[in-house]
């Protein structure tokens, strides 16, 4: 039984409306793609026209843009920082969450609430002091920034892992420990394998955050090591007109990895985002 009474003609009308809406949703992406093949002089003046023989420039914008912002270096930094931040967050916060859930003390309670509190604090609150601290401790490089991401990701990760660990019955862990397993053995061999679905959610939420993050890498490592968002904003330059040709091409290159990631992991992503929204 459907939630709404069904009418055949109604369904056809709604289907057509959905097709139109989908076209409107996709149009911005297609317009950027189309303009990325046009000469930079014809983008701002006729953004909705297809390239013609006069305005078509082939790969030129891509070559020029990639040269200007060193796109492939930026891609490398983004990939490195995202992959290792996500691994670091998943490991460190699942371990912390297990400890905080299983050991009850004033210390663990205080730490837990501090972590939850950190989730609601906006980045602007700490951006200045954090970037100064990062400089002071020489964390202003692609490896050091991982510490910052694990620190900022600690709140959500720990919160989501402890939410799940609370539902795991103690008996399995107790049995393992009675058989002589140490705490690390118990965690990695018994508990960790059960955390898989939460780990996927945590990994996806953090991948989307770290990959798209602009301000943190800009403030800490932005001069020497530009991630993709930093490199794209860098095209704006200080003064003068933006090279819209290079911009369009770089927007396309920036979106391709995200769209591939999305189409490959769609189910996990949507499920993860819902879980994150509901619990966060």
């Amino acid at each position: 039984m459907s939630i709404v009474k069904k009418h055949r003609t109604m369904d056809i009308v709604l289907f057509i409306i959905l097709i139109l809406l989908a076209a409107i949703f996709l149009a911005p992406l297609l317009i950027v793609l189309m303009n990325s093949f046009k000469s930079k002089f014809f983008i701002s003046s006729q953004p909705f026209k297809f390239p013609t023989a006069d305005t078509f420039t082939g790969r030129e914008n891509y070559i020029e843009g990639a040269r200007k912002i060193k796109f492939f270096n930026a891609f490398g930094y983004s990939l490195f920082i995202t992959v290792f931040s996500v691994i670091g967050i998943s490991l460190a916060t699942s371990m912390l969450a297990w400890y905080l859930t299983r050991v009850k003390s004033v210390f663990t309670t205080v730490v837990y609430y501090l972590l939850v509190f950190s989730m609601i604090v906006p980045f602007q609150m700490v951006m200045f002091t954090m970037s100064k601290t990062a400089n002071l401790l020489h964390l202003d490089n692609p490896i050091g920034i991982l510490v910052l991401y694990v620190g900022f990701g600690a709140g959500l990760g720990t919160f989501m892992f402890s939410g799940f660990i609370k539902t795991i019955p103690l008996s399995l862990e107790e049995a393992a420990m009675i058989d002589g397993a140490t705490a690390p053995q118990t965690f990695f061999l018994v508990v960790y394998p059960m955390l898989k679905s939460t780990a996927i959610t945590v990994a996806i939420l953090n991948t989307m955050w770290v990959w798209n993050d602009y301000l943190l890498p800009y403030l800490t490592i932005g001069i020497e090591y530009k991630t993709i968002p930093v490199a794209i904003q860098y095209l704006r330059g200080g003064y003068g007109a933006v090279d819209m040709g290079a911009m369009m091409a770089m927007l396309v290159l920036a979106m391709i990895p995200i769209i591939i990631f999305y189409l490959a992991m769609q189910k996990h992503i949507i499920r993860g985002v819902i879980a994150g929204a509901v619990k966060g």
Binding site: L26, V103, K104, P122, Y214
Partner: protein, 280 residues
């Protein structure tokens, strides 16, 4: 069992907690302290009491950005949630291609704020072209540009949350209402809306919070132009820190106010969800 876990406290707690300390706790505490100091690096401050907080409001700039931000958030919260709920209703009727539509509508949510800002700058300027103006000619263009961008990015996200909620309504409830002769309108107001109320709360607060925290999109779409008139809170704080020397303390004071505002919103949400759980 607690005892044997405690023996490995350092292993489980230190990795995440050290990072949390460096990236969040130290910057947070020093940020609050520094909001009462005049400084340009972290270590050269002189105590000035509440002066930074007074200076934050001495000209209208911060209040103007707060007002712009409030109006922007109100309009986008309403439009996003109505749009998302309408799409969710359309996609839970068992129409053909439902999954494909869901994929398309959700996709913009994965694209980072900087990239989104540049995509929409091209498109909005394209629409304004016949008028001979650009998005930074008049703040109302920037305002509606940001609203459109925000809708494009978030409708799909809220939609998947509403879809999950609608699909969770028990079939028996719908059948019973049908047998009692409920039409589509009664079904909507007496069955669907009450059943998805918790998700509605979640979506409202997610959109309110992201409206107030918005930074990347604001920077890439208008950068606050013309003349700071489309500058929202996060961007205003950023510019106070990094575009004016001698105002770091004021920036930090604004950041504290901003944090209190965001925390207040989060606590309100918590209170609403708590009272609902108690009723249930």
């Amino acid at each position: 069992m607690q005892k044997s876990i405690r023996r490995y406290a350092a292993l489980f707690v230190l990795p995440a907690l050290t990072c949390f300390f460096i990236a969040f706790l130290v910057p947070m505490i020093s940020g609050v302290i520094l909001s009462f100091f005049k400084f340009s690096t972290v270590l050269d401050g002189t105590f000035v009491g509440w002066q930074n907080y007074k200076l934050a409001f001495i000209n209208n700039e911060f209040a103007t950005s707060l007002w712009f931000n409030v109006r922007f958030t109100l309009v986008s919260v309403v439009t996003i949630n109505i749009g998302a709920f309408a799409l969710a209703m359309l996609l839970t009727r068992g129409l053909k291609g439902t999954n494909a539509f869901r994929t398309i509508f959700f996709m913009p949510n994965l694209i980072g704020g900087i990239v989104l800002g540049w995509i929409w700058q091209l498109i909005i300027n394209g629409f304004l072209l016949p008028k001979g103006v650009t998005i930074v000619t008049d703040p109302k263009y920037g305002f509606w540009g940001l609203v459109v961008l925000m809708n494009w990015q978030n409708i799909g996200y809220m939609m998947v949350i509403y879809i999950a909620a609608i699909q969770n309504i028990p079939v028996e409830l719908i059948e019973a209402a049908r047998i009692d002769g409920a039409g589509n309108k009664t079904m909507l107001t007496s069955v669907i809306l009450p059943s998805i109320a918790p998700s509605l709360t979640i979506c409202l607060f997610l959109t309110i919070t992201s409206g107030f925290r918005l930074f990347d999109q604001n920077l890439a779409l208008t950068a606050g132009d013309p003349g700071k008139q489309t500058e929202m809170l996060a961007l205003n704080i950023y510019n106070t820190f990094y575009r004016r020397t001698g105002f770091e303390g004021v920036g930090q004071a604004k950041a504290v106010i901003f944090t209190l505002l965001v925390a207040l919103i989060a606590l309100t949400q918590l209170a609403i969800s708590r009272s609902r759980e108690e009723e249930a």
